[in-house]
Subunit: 200 residues, 2 copies
DNA sequence: CCCCAAAGTAGGCAGCGCCAACAATGCTGT
DNA sequence: ACAGCATTGTTGGCGCTGCCTACTTTGGGG
């Protein structure tokens, strides 16, 4: 349904969602630096101060955007897992899903891991990060019970896994590694994560 | 030598270096978002357009800043390596040096891996990234010759190592992991990188 | 010694984020 | 039914920013 230009109602209906949607598009197409509240308002067809009713400041909008990113990422990771399969396949699926997410939304991932929530160890964003790590920890603990991963503090082992996965994703997001190379080396990457790079 | 306020010479002498130094300080203390060319000019005591003589635009200054970051990181990594020691110690030293760098310069690392040099596969910045990866590849190939790392494409194996190291660093820079936790788990991290997380 | 390129200055422009004051709207209680 | 009010959108303005152009100062090479 296209918006009719004539006699747009005074109240938008769901301006907040419209702003987030438009912002995500701009983020994907032109990067975070090109995001401006005023241009966003223009795109959506409201006055330049209207966004201020829904986001206390620009950072609040960026945070909301990052939050939707975590929700989508978490869904993608959840959908990719196959709990009954052996650990190597589960890891590979997870890694592929994460890599797919970052390839589709590189600027969004940059936002999600931006250094802006710094002292803020609370809030919905921190919860989202926590939940993402939590699901990974769960997977590690699960695999430990089956004897597929060495015993030890699951949190610590999760960090090893998370570092490896996120490192690859971050390098792709930073354009230090092409998506093709990353995908091509993914199976090997997971294998080395499980079995190491030292000779057995 | 303090600058004398009275009769400051018309020409600064080395404005470019002074700007970079002041910028790095601001970056460390207040983050990249707080960096403004005009404020920088004020801090250094020149007019608001003076920086434009040395940096074509703001991005050029950020790039120059990132470049100094790569130089320092490369030096730190080079100084940390101990080529005659066994691979686990070398890796641990490298990881510790990298982690130390990111703990000391989190905002700078963010800048170095910012998604701004996107289509730009050439230029001094890309060379710096290349060189950093190159030295890692060299270490991998070196260890392979000694039988400390499994055979295989050194580039691929380097990416495994780089992902793991950079992932940990990126998580610290993003405040998803505290420096203390990262340092505490570092030895274990390197061990798992070498020998895997699956039972032997 | 002069002259010109390099380096710094002054001013202005458009765009930005944020704020305060004002207007339209629709929900709620009586 | 409708008055009142909180919500949501509008207008205007402030100070800041990056960038541009034109002007001034300086110092070194022909």
């Amino acid at each position: 349904m296209l918006s009719m230009p004539a006699s747009r109602p005074y109240h938008h209906g769901d301006l907040r969602a419209a702003l987030l949607k438009s912002a995500e598009r701009t983020l994907r197409e032109k990067g975070v630096a090109a995001l401006s509240l005023r241009e966003l308002a223009r795109d959506v067809g409201v006055s330049h101060a209207a966004p201020g009713r829904h986001f206390k400041d620009k950072q609040a909008l960026l945070d909301a955007l990052a939050l939707t990113g975590y929700e989508r990422l978490l869904r993608a990771l959840g959908a990719a897992d196959a709990p009954e399969r052996p650990i190597q396949e589960r890891m590979t699926r997870l890694a592929r899903a994460y890599l797919g997410f970052v390839i589709d939304n590189p600027a969004l991932l940059e936002l999600m891991f931006a250094r802006k929530h710094e002292p803020d160890t609370t809030g919905p964003l921190a919860d989202a990060v926590e939940e993402t790590f939590g699901s990974l920890t769960h997977l590690v603990a699960d695999a430990q019970e089956r004897g597929e991963i060495v015993p030890g503090d699951p949190e610590r082992l999760m960090m090893v896994v998370a570092s490896s996965l996120h490192g690859l994703a971050a390098l792709v997001a930073a354009c230090a590694l092409s998506p093709e190379e990353a995908l091509a080396g993914l199976d090997e990457q997971v294998h080395h994560l499980l079995y190491g790079v030292a000779p057995r």
